[in-house]
Each structure stands twice: as C-alpha cells, then as structure tokens.
C-alpha cells in the first residue's frame, strides 16, 4: 500500500482547530499554525528565494528602475546641443542613412524647450523636467547610450534584458536569481506598470526567460483593487470553510512531507503556503499609501490629476524598497497606438507629447529621489532612469514638429549607491546624432548595474 497516508494526523493541527477558528480563519491564521511547524520545514529544505551573498561587497542592495516607454527625446530633455539651434531648418548631412523608424527624413529641429544650467554641478537641463532639474547634483547622466534597435519592442527588451529577442530573463529576474530576496513576505522583483496600461511587449519586459518562474517580476495591478490576482480570499467563502480547507490541506501536506523526508520539494511547498499567507498581510500593507503622512503625499503629488496615477507608483516603489524588495521596476508610459499617445513616442508633435508625459513623470520621480535621499536610502539603493532610445535631431518628415526614434545616441541617468554624483559621462556628437565619446552599449550599462550590486 502507499506510504503517502497521513500518518501525521494525530499530531497535526486538527488538534489546533479551536485556536484557528478563534483567530478568524483566512490564510493569516493558518500561517501562525505553520510557523509553529516551521523548524521542521526549514530543516528539510531552505526557502527557494532566500538571500544569497553577492560575489564581492556591493555598493547597492536594491534597485529601482524607472522605465519611460516610447523613447524620451535626449536633445529636448538632458543633452544640450546649441548647434541644433544654429542648424535649425537645415537638411541633415554627413550622418549616413536615415535611421528613423518611419524613414521620412525631415529637417534639423532645435530643441523645443529652453535649456539652462542647474545645481552646483551646473548640469544642463531643459524646462521640460523642472523637478528633476532640482536633482542634478545627485545623479550621473550617461549621454552616450547606444541601443541596437530602433523599434520599440526589441529596444525595450534590450533595455530590460540585454537582448532584442524574446526569451531572455529581465534585469530584475537576474537579481532575484543572483541575490535572492531580503524579505520573504514580499516578492523579490515587483513591477509597477503605468496605471494607463502595460507597455509594448507586456509581461515579457519582466519575464524570467529561461530562469524558473519564481524569478519573474510580479506585476502589481496599479489601477485599483487587489495589488496581485488571487491575493484575497474570495468573498464568497465563509471564514470557517476557508479555515477548514487550510486545516485539511495543512494536515495532508505536512503528513506527506513527513513521509518523504528526503524530498525538499514537499517541505518547500509547505513553506510556500506559509509565505502566501504572509503576503496576504504584507502586500495590502505595503500598498496602503494612506498610511503615509500628508507631507509625503504632497511631495509626490498624490491625487494630482496631471500625473494620472503615476505618483502612487513612485511612492509605492519607495515603500517596497523600504521593506526589502530587491528590484522595483516602475514603468511610465503604456501601450502603443491610440490618440493621444500614452507614452513618450512623440512622432507627430514632440512638444505636445512630451509636455503631457513629463507632467506624469517629472514630479513623482524627482520626489522618489528626494524621498530616498532624505531617508538615507539612496546610500545603498541604486536608482536607474531609462528609456529604450532617444529621438531624432531631425523632424519626422518635412514641416512636421515630431521626432522619430533614434537609437544611436540617447541619455539615461543613474543615482544612489556607488554612483558618482553631479557628473555626466560620455557625450553625443554636436547635434546628438551619434555617440561622440565613451559609447555605452546596453550590455555595458547592465554590467555597471551588476557591478554595483556586487555581481
């Protein structure tokens, strides 16, 4: 006969029923019961995602990445090119073939915003991002970024995974895999999509690729409702019935694990239910922004319609980081198509488009940097601001105020742990078309990030 029977029934929590019921049922109550059994479980198998030591002492312990989908115009935001004004309206010459996506070469267009110097470092920033301009002394600009594709989805894949093709793990997944988690009650890798919609490529931007599924980013539902699906006990279930489910299950699974002492997988399953129970408490807690003081809400601009809900994501990011989440990816910008566009893809009119987008992104992201700094968290948190490519110095088509995709020179910036402050690395050429010096290809960018994390 099978050796899988529930021999452990006698000592199992059937005897604890009374206690559980008095605790009101739900997964949380069961977690307590399982906690009592935890020594047994963890002796049998260590938790699958527990923290692992890096290769050498890291500067950064956690990462927050802002990803601006659609392609932010470097020459209208960060990369000051006076030469553009001089050449305004002229035909682009000496730059080889047109690299734009739609292949409609236009004329050179000066920046649609005014630039001036900011902070002690004197960094040039345009009037597009007034709040971030206040952070320039804390950041390191990389103005010589170079992407492989001028097409959104492959370029976004590359920024997030290093590859333009499907099937490779994303940055957060590597870190979850390489470093594990610091707080088992929350996922190691959380994604906060733009409340308006997912970006191009959808969940592949946070896929675990060929790594196990436990390393894939957990995308929070940011439009309201429960932050992750199936988090809450379904409304239709009576608390007593749910407690009974759990009780029977606990008894059976524990009995089963006990009958297979050599098989870590069974002990690990027990533990996963315990963690699930804790997530039922910890995720609503972290998502509860109402707990924040008014001053913080104001700093981020919570509830201001202009940011279209994005401020909530930035504040949530800080709360997640604070609680030990290893990698938080905050996405600004949604799916392609539609009118008006809901990302940075300013083909038709770069000023109109960037004005709207900047209103969602600028203040909340600047607030996040400030907030991390004032809490001392910027010391060991790596802040990444990224986009998949820049936008062309020439217009898209003659007479148009729009700019096409531009992968051969663009700007990203870093701040926080181990990053030199108030400097600018690399440069584009006189009009921001090609990299002028210190080219940073995406794999180099990723290598820098991993290095800061001790990998």
């Amino acid at each position: 006969m099978s050796n899988n029977n529930l021999l452990a029934f006698g000592s199992a929590p059937f005897s604890r029923r009374h206690f559980l019921w008095n605790s009101g049922g739900g997964l949380g109550a069961i977690a307590l019961a399982w906690l009592l059994q935890r020594d047994q479980a963890s002796a049998a198998g260590s938790a699958p995602g527990s923290a692992r030591a890096p290769h050498f002492p890291p500067k950064a312990k956690r990462v927050v990445q802002i990803f601006c989908a659609g392609g932010v115009s470097h020459i209208d935001a960060f990369d000051y090119k006076p030469e553009l004004a001089r050449m305004h309206g002229k035909t682009l010459e000496g730059k080889g073939e047109n690299l734009g996506f739609f292949g409609q070469p236009g004329k050179i267009m000066k920046s649609v915003y005014d630039f001036r110097q900011h902070g002690k470092s004197g960094a040039w920033m345009s009037s597009l991002l007034p709040h971030l301009a206040g952070c320039v002394d804390d950041v390191c600009f990389i103005k010589s970024m170079f992407a492989k594709s001028n097409n959104h989805t492959p370029a976004a894949f590359q920024m997030n995974s290093g590859f333009t093709l499907n099937g490779f793990p994303s940055m957060g997944a590597w870190l979850s895999y390489g470093l594990g988690t610091e707080n088992e009650n929350l996922p190691a890798f959380v994604v906060l999509p733009d409340p308006r919609s997912l970006p191009a490529g959808g969940s592949i931007n946070w896929t675990s690729g060929f790594l196990p599924a436990n390393h894939q980013g957990v995308a929070f539902q940011t439009k309201g409702g429960a932050p992750i699906p199936d988090l809450d006990t379904p409304a239709g279930l009576a608390p007593g019935a749910r407690a009974a489910d759990m009780e029977l299950l606990a008894a059976m699974n524990r009995g089963f694990a006990a009958a297979h002492p050599g098989d870590d997988a069974f002990a690990a399953r027990l533990r996963s239910y315990e963690l699930a129970a804790r997530m039922q408490v910890s995720i609503p807690e972290v998502a509860n922004l109402e707990a924040e003081p008014e001053s913080i809400k104001r700093l981020y601009g919570l509830g201001e319609p202009a940011n279209k809900g994005f401020a909530r994501n930035c504040l949530m990011a800080r709360r997640l980081l604070e609680r030990g989440v290893r990698f938080v990816q905050v996405i600004n910008g949604g799916i392609f198509g539609g009118n008006p566009r809901i990302n940075w893809d300013g083909h038709e009119n770069v000023k109109e488009n960037h004005d709207t987008q900047a209103a969602t992104m600028d203040k909340p992201v600047a607030a996040l940097i400030q907030d991390l700094k004032q809490r001392g968290m910027l010391e060991d948190t790596l802040f990444i601001w990224s986009t998949e490519f820049g936008r062309s110095p020439a217009t898209q088509g003659v007479g148009s105020p729009g700019r096409d995709h531009h992968p051969t020179a663009f700007t990203c910036f870093l701040a926080g742990a181990g990053v030199k402050k108030g400097i600018s690395y690399g440069a584009s050429d006189e009009i921001g078309y090609f990299v002028g010096e210190n080219k940073v290809i995406i794999p180099d960018f990723h290598a820098t990030i991993l290095h800061l994390l001790g990998l």
Partner: protein, 889 residues
C-alpha cells in the same frame, strides 16, 4: 621570390607575436605556427587567401584606415615595404614550411563524444546499464512500487492525467503476469498519449499561436501544425519521417508539418530602414537555424552566427550554410493540402455545385434589392460595401474616390462578380492614380489578390482621393461590385466615403454603375446585410433562408475541403546567402552554399540549389542513422520526460558546453535500439516503461547520501507536474474535462483587437475552456493568471526543459483563483452525484480520483468530518492543493 622564413616571419615576429604568439593568443589568433596562420582567429575571416592578398584578413587589418581597427593597435605600424612583402608572399601562393601538414590537421574534426558514431554496447537492456552504474557506487535499485503508485505514475507520465478509479481497480484486480505490459499498451494506444507528448515537443520547437513583439497578432491557423504533432505521436510516426516532414513536409504530402519552420516569434513591424529590415530577416532565419540545431541535433548553432563556435566544431561558415537552407522560408499562411479519397472527392464536388447554385440565388436577391430601391441606400461602412446593378458586359472597372473619413483612402480588395456570382477580378491588371510608397502591406497588386485586411490592401498616394482600375482578364457580364476598407474589421480610418464606380463596356467607354450619391451619409456604422431591408418582406425571408443554406454549405465545405490555410510558412526563391562578418547584415562576406555541419560531412549542394531541395537534403542528412546526434538527442528527450531528467541533462545542448551523459552506454544502446526499430518512439517508450527502473518505488532511502539528486536511479524521483498536466488533471477529476481533439484552440485570454493586440486574463471560464491545455490558444508575452506561475512557457524561446519552481504565488493561485474555485464546485457536485450522500463515501471517491488509492481510516474520518461541517467544496479545494495530487510519485 619572397621566402616565408627569411622575409615574412620576421615581420610577424616584430609586430604581432606579442599578442598573437606562443604566450598570448588574442582573439584566438596565433601567428607563430603554420596551423595558426591557416586557421585564423575567432572572427571567422580567412586570414590568408593564397594568391589573393586583397581578400586576406591579414592585409586588411595591417592596412586598415580606422585607427581602432588597424593592427598592431599600439606601437609602430608596418612600413609600406613590409606590407608589400606580405602581399607578395600571399599573391605568390603563401607558401610556408609545414603548410601541408597544418592544412591536414585543420580539416575539421572533433573527439567530442556526441559527434562519434553510435556504437551499440554489449549489455542487457535498460536495467542492466542502470544496475551496473549503481553497483559501481555500491547502490541498488529500490523495490518495485505498489500497483496503485505504478498505474498513477504511468498515466501522469504518459497522459498527463491520473487514471480513473475504474482503470485502477481493473489493473489491481488483474493478477496475470503480463497485466502491466497490457496496461502499457493501452496507455500508448490512447489518444491522450499523443496530446501529452505533443505538448512536450511544442516546448522543444517554441510553438505558440501569436507573433510576439509589438503587435503580437494572433495566428489563427497555427493549430494545423499542433494537430499534426498530436497525430504523429498517436500514430507512432517513425521519427526520421517526423523530422523530414517538419523540415520539408511540402515535398512529402504533409503541409501542416512545416509549421515547425515558422512556429517561432516574428516581428511584423517593418521599417523602410533597410538596416532594420535586414536585421529582422536575419533574426527570423536565426530562429529557424537555431531551432533546427537544438531540436534535432542538440547543437547550439546560434553561437556561430557572429563568430566561430567557441566550444563546438561549428565554424561561422556552417551557420550561414544552414541559414542558406532556410533562405527561402517565410512566415505566413499557405494551403494545407489533405489527401482525399474518391468518396470525399465526390462529396466535395457536389457541395461546390450546391454552393454555386445558392450563391447565384443570393445574387438574384441582391440585384432585386438594388433595382427596386427608392429610398437611400445604407451608408458606407469600413468593412464591406456592395454596388449591385443591371448586368453589363465589361472589360474594366474603375473605382474613383472623391472623399474619405481620414487620410489617403484604403481599399483592401475590389471584387467584381459576374451573373453567377464568380469574382472575376483576380488575374486582372490593376492600375491606379498612385500608391502610398514604402509599405509592403499596401500595394497596388493587393487590390485583387483575393486576400483581405489591412496587411493586403492598396492605399492611394493622395489624401482624400485617388482611383484604382482593374482591366478584367476577359470580358465578363458583371452585376455586382464588393469593396471594403478592411474586411476583418480591424480598421475604420481611410474609408472612401464619396466615390463613383464605373464599368467600361469597351476600352475607354465608361458608364457609371454605382455611386455614393444614393447612399445615406457616412456615419461609421456598418451592416453587411443591409440589402435585406430593401426587399419586400417575403423576398427578404426567402433571401435569409437561402443565405442560411449557403452558410451551412460553406461551413461543410470548409471542413471537408482539401485545402485550408495554415500558419505553416511560405516558400520563395532564395536570395544568395553570404557569411556576415560579426553577424552584421551590412558586412557581407563570401557567398555560402546551403549545407549541413561540415564536421559531419557535406550535402554537396550548389549555391543556386532550388529552395525545396535544400530542405529535403538537410532533412535527409539529419534523419539518417549515420548522424551521430539525431537518435541520441531524441532518446534522451524521451528519457527526460519519462524519468524527470535526461541522461544528458542539457537536452538541447549535446556540445562541449552541455553535460556529459550519466550513462553513456545506455544512451548509445537506446539510440541504436531506436534506429534499429524503425525510429519507433513507442518502441523506445515501451522499453522504458517496462523497465524495473521506471517501476521502482520513489520512497526516500539512505542511498540519498551517495546520489542526492537520484541521477543514478536508485529510486524513481518524484517531481511536480507541469502547468498543463495540473490543469488537465483538475478538469479530469472534477469531471469537467472536454476531450474534443484538434482544431482551433480555446482562449484563456480575452482579446481586444487594435493595431496591436491586447490580451487580458479571463475572469470567468465556461465549458469551452475545459479542453486539454495542449489546445489552448497560446499567446506570446502573456502568462495565464493561474498556471503562469507554474513555469508554463509562452513560446518566446525554445524550452527543452521546464523549471519546477515553487512560489507563494502558486499557493495563492491554487487557493483563491476563480478557476480552481469553480473546479472545486464541479468536483463537489460530481462526488455528491457519484458517491451518494455519505461523507465517508464522498471522501473515499475523492481520494481514488486524486491519488488512485483509498484513504486510510484516519484520512477518511477526518475528511468526512470536514465535509459534514463545511461541505464538499471545502474538501475539494483542499484536495486540489495537496502535494500528493500535484506530484508524480
């Protein structure tokens, strides 16, 4: 005459040896030996081409104009005299001492195990080899597992679902010695077997039902290939045939099989930028080359796309030789021909005649509606419009657009019907006022190509106007014209809202046959059957009846037809394939002929070899008993899916970077056995399933200390079921499972169609979604809300081996998801219906369904008490979460 030792070598010594000599070999380049000079470095560039100094990489690098590329990178450059010496040496034949021996030693060869011929070792079957390895470590196999465990294991491994209580009882009550062998035969003969094993193969070949990338459109006809795989496993199609048909099924009467070539993701967002388009095409071809390499040969060809393979004997040239095999393969749909018997042919002909007759009758009604009308016709719609008129003899039709609702007008197809309802436009010559340049999707020839939708449309070059004309292939008596912006309904911009349609009775003699003036103003709404409203009520009823009959016949025809379209690829005349320096499409090097891996031989094909012949030849080379990789790779996959881990645990990498087999003799014995028995997959599986190694207990033992992961097979290793098997098993035990096989897949996502597709997990499931998961319409870049956390791949890349992760999200999904709750309710109903009202009996049936065993006394009483207090659904929910249910033991 230049002398190598006296004149050339000193130059190399002076400038090159520091980095490319005995001590250092940067870029794997070594210049102090004849072998090194002839082989060149890892770039794959020919270092010296005897007699052609200009083509020699040596000369290119020492004379390079780019300071970042010129050699040497530091220190003095070569003088003009020195370069001249090198040129003279190469142009004079590049003679050097030891050149012949060096060339002989360079002829590609390898001593890597997997490239050596398969040799059948002496030995006594699977158990003999397994026991021999165990004995080396002083271990033994575990005792046989009990019958209930064995039958459950067998069903989960072979069908991906547990046995029914009846099947278990039958087996347990069969005391005959060959009871198990008979059970194995029954399991192999079940259609459930093909479904389970097809799903494994779909992982290996990165199958999914959408394109991936930005637009991620659906491939609604990809399923033909999936069905072919299911059928191939069920029919035990010999594996060599299985390979040949997937690579060249168009030549073998198996069109659906070539879905293999185009099952991978592909980017349909193209740009006029030639760099991007060429790179995209290179990616498409790379997907085909890589998948062919990994799936059939266990070789990671992709590594040789940019340079010689760093671990395996695959020079960069080989990658492009294999790419040349696929150079004429394109993503897209093609008719999937089926062979029909005489009776079916006859039936088909009759149905076609009936269709024609009914179509003509509908046509009559349409004309009647057109002629009898007084009120305004319905407004233009984006999907479909028609102009019916009294028949005229025509040689040409012209459609002139006077206004649109936006931008340049677009028409996806202009159909011109004759009196009996035949479209006479295809084959006609199209001309137009102009065509929007630069878009492969929008071309003039699309106007009468018989294909619908935005991707096959014509767009005028002028905003708001334009004309398009079709000169008919032959004079015809026409009575109706049908046109639309996008018949699939995906677009509603660019709609011609004011227009005139004219027919020419003689060249140049035009008469107006339709116009927008008699239509209500454009309002963006649509109604394809608007003509019915313009008939007398009795006529309208009659027309509806005829239409319904026509639809029924057409549906029947679609089913029985000998040709449906399938996402199985299209073929075109290949362009020449070049080796690409660093894999860069802008840096073409020499032309490469289609070929196989040079280390294992050559196909001997010409550069101009016809497209299909290339694939036929490569397929024959792979599906050959002499190929040392093919059989080994497949038997290892069969082993992996049967025992949990392959003998080689890197199933798609048998190269130097992959693992070595734990049981090399066993692997070769199986490979030989496979080929000897006509490449029969079921034969191999029979051997595995009947072995003691498969039937032994999985209980933990002290042996774990010697071999913790159990690779030596001292016990059967328990493992978690894959996502699909968990879902299928839930449906099976709840009784909800729909065993309908084949055809279009079911959706676990709701689809919102726009220019790009949006997919949202379903919130409610209906019985339409209760089919086996192999039939799920699998959408790339999405994960199912319940089973995504169970390592279910999206087909973005090949997945030769599943992870078996364990996460808290799985617990939440299995406990709280709508799907599981719904199945728990269905199971509760089933238990109540089949086990009667006594909770003890209900619990007992539950245990039998889930675990193929009855509960013991404690389990039964505890479960019954729980059912009494909280009801059956509570019990069901707990059962779905138990480890015993989710694991193969």
């Amino acid at each position: 005459m230049v002398d190598f030792v006296k004149d050339v070598r000193p130059i190399l010594e002076e400038h090159c040896f520091d980095c490319h000599g005995a001590e250092k070999q940067k870029s794997r380049m070594r210049l102090d030996s004849a072998v090194g000079i002839l082989r060149g470095g890892e770039s794959g560039e020919p270092f010296v081409v005897a007699g052609k100094s200009a083509e020699s990489y040596l000369i290119k690098r020492v004379t390079h104009e780019n300071p970042k590329e010129v050699m040497p990178p530091k220190g003095a450059r070569l003088t003009a005299e020195q370069v001249a010496v090198l040129r003279m040496w190469i142009d004079g034949g590049a003679q050097m001492p030891g050149a012949e021996e060096a060339a002989a030693s360079l002829r590609l060869k390898t001593d890597h195990w997997s490239f050596q011929p398969v040799r059948r070792p002496a030995g006594a079957g699977i158990d003999g080899f397994v026991l021999a390895k165990l004995q080396e470590k002083g271990l033994t196999m575990s005792p046989a597992a009990d019958k209930a465990t064995v039958i459950r294991r067998l069903y989960l491994v072979m069908h991906g679902m547990p046995p029914t209580p009846q099947e278990v009882a039958e087996f347990q009550n069969d005391a005959q010695p060959e009871a198990y062998a008979r059970l194995v035969e029954r399991v192999l003969a079940s259609p459930r077997y093909g479904e389970r094993w097809a799903r494994h193969w779909m992982d290996v070949v990165r199958y999914a039902d959408s394109n991936g990338f930005e637009t991620n459109r659906e491939r609604k006809t990809a399923f033909h290939y999936r069905d072919w795989i299911v059928e191939a496993f069920n029919a035990d199609k010999p594996y060599d045939e299985f390979i040949r048909e997937q690579l060249a099924g168009d030549a073998l009467g198996a069109d659906a099989a070539t879905g293999f070539l185009v099952a991978g993701p592909h980017d349909i967002v193209k740009s006029p930028d030639i760099n991007l388009t060429l790179a995209q095409r290179q990616d498409e071809l790379a997907d085909m080359v890589n998948t062919t390499g990994t799936a059939f040969l266990g070789i990671t060809m992709g590594c040789a796309r940019c340079h010689n393979h760093k671990f395996d004997p695959v020079p960069q040239k080989d990658y492009y030789a294999m790419q040349a095999v696929f150079a004429g393969v394109n993503h897209g749909e093609r008719p999937v021909r089926r062979k029909l018997d005489a009776a079916a042919e006859k039936e088909l002909a009759a149905a076609r005649a009936e269709e024609a007759a009914l179509a003509a009758r509908v046509e009559e009604f349409r004309r009647k509606a057109a002629t009898g009308a007084t009120a305004l016709r319905p407004p233009v719609n984006a999907r479909l419009n028609e102009e019916s008129f009294s028949p005229v003899d025509a040689v040409a039709v012209r459609f002139t657009i006077l206004a649109t609702n936006s931008a340049e007008p677009c028409i996806d197809e202009l159909e011109i019907f004759d009196e009996v309802g035949r479209n006479v436009a295809p084959g006609g010559k199209a001309s137009a006022s102009g065509t929007l340049p630069g878009f492969a999707m929008h071309k003039l020839e699309h106007i009468n190509d018989g294909q619908f939708g935005n991707d096959r449309s014509w767009i005028s070059h002028t905003a708001g106007k334009g004309w398009v004309q079709i000169d008919l292939p032959a004079r015809a008596r026409i009575g109706r014209i049908v046109w639309g912006r996008a018949r699939d309904g995906k677009f509603s911009d660019r709609v011609p809202t004011r227009y005139v349609v004219e027919a020419a009775t003689e060249p140049g003699k035009w008469q107006t046959v339709g116009k927008s003036d008699d239509r209500a103003p454009f309002n963006g709404k649509e109604d394809a059957n608007a003509f019915l409203a313009r008939l007398a009520p009795a006529d309208a009823d009659a027309a509806r009846t005829v239409q319904a009959e026509l639809a029924a016949v057409q549906k029947r025809l679609a089913r029985s037809s000998d040709s449906q379209k399938g996402w199985v690829g299209t073929f075109s005349k290949p362009e020449k394939t070049h080796r690409l320096y660093r894999g860069d499409p802008m840096q073409k090097r020499e032309v490469v002929a289609p070929d196989a891996l040079s280390v294992l031989g050559t196909l001997g094909l010409a550069v101009e070899e016809p497209e299909q012949a290339r694939r036929v030849k490569l397929a024959g080379w792979i599906a050959s008993p002499q190929n040392p990789l093919t059989a080994r790779v497949m038997v290892n996959r069969l082993w992996q899916y049967t025992f949990g881990t392959g003998l080689v645990d890197t199933p798609s990498d048998f190269g130097a970077n992959g693992s070595r087999p734990t049981h090399p003799e066993l692997l070769d014995w199986l490979a030989d056995e496979f080929v000897r028995n006509g490449w029969s997959v079921k034969h191999l599986q029979r051997l595995m399933l009947l072995s003691a190694a498969f039937r032994q207990s999985s209980a933990p033992r002290a042996a774990a200390a010697m071999d913790a992961d159990g690779r030596l097979l001292w016990r059967y290793i328990p493992r978690r079921l894959e996502a699909e098997a968990i879902r299928d098993s839930m449906l099976a035990v709840s009784g909800a499972l729909d065993l309908k096989m084949g055809g279009p897949g079911f959706y676990l996502m709701d689809v919102v169609e726009e220019n790009v597709m949006h997919y949202f997990p379903k919130e409610k499931y209906t019985p339409a979604e209760f089919r086996r998961m192999v039939y799920q319409f699998r959408i790339r870049q999405t994960t199912d809300s319940v089973f995504g956390s169970f390592d279910c791949p999206d087909g973005g890349a090949v997945m030769p081996r599943r992870s078996r992760s364990n996460t808290p999200l799985q617990a939440l999904n299995l406990f709280n998801s709508t799907f599981v709750l719904q199945q728990a309710d269905l199971l509760a109903k089933r238990l109540a219906a089949e086990a009667g009202t006594a909770p003890e009996a209900q619990a007992a049936l539950g245990f039998r369904l889930f675990y193929a065993r009855p509960p013991d006394a404690t389990e039964q009483s505890a479960s019954a008490a729980m059912i009494r207090e909280h009801g059956l659904p509570s019990f069901a929910r707990a059962m779905f979460n138990t480890s015993e249910f989710l694991f193969i033991l």
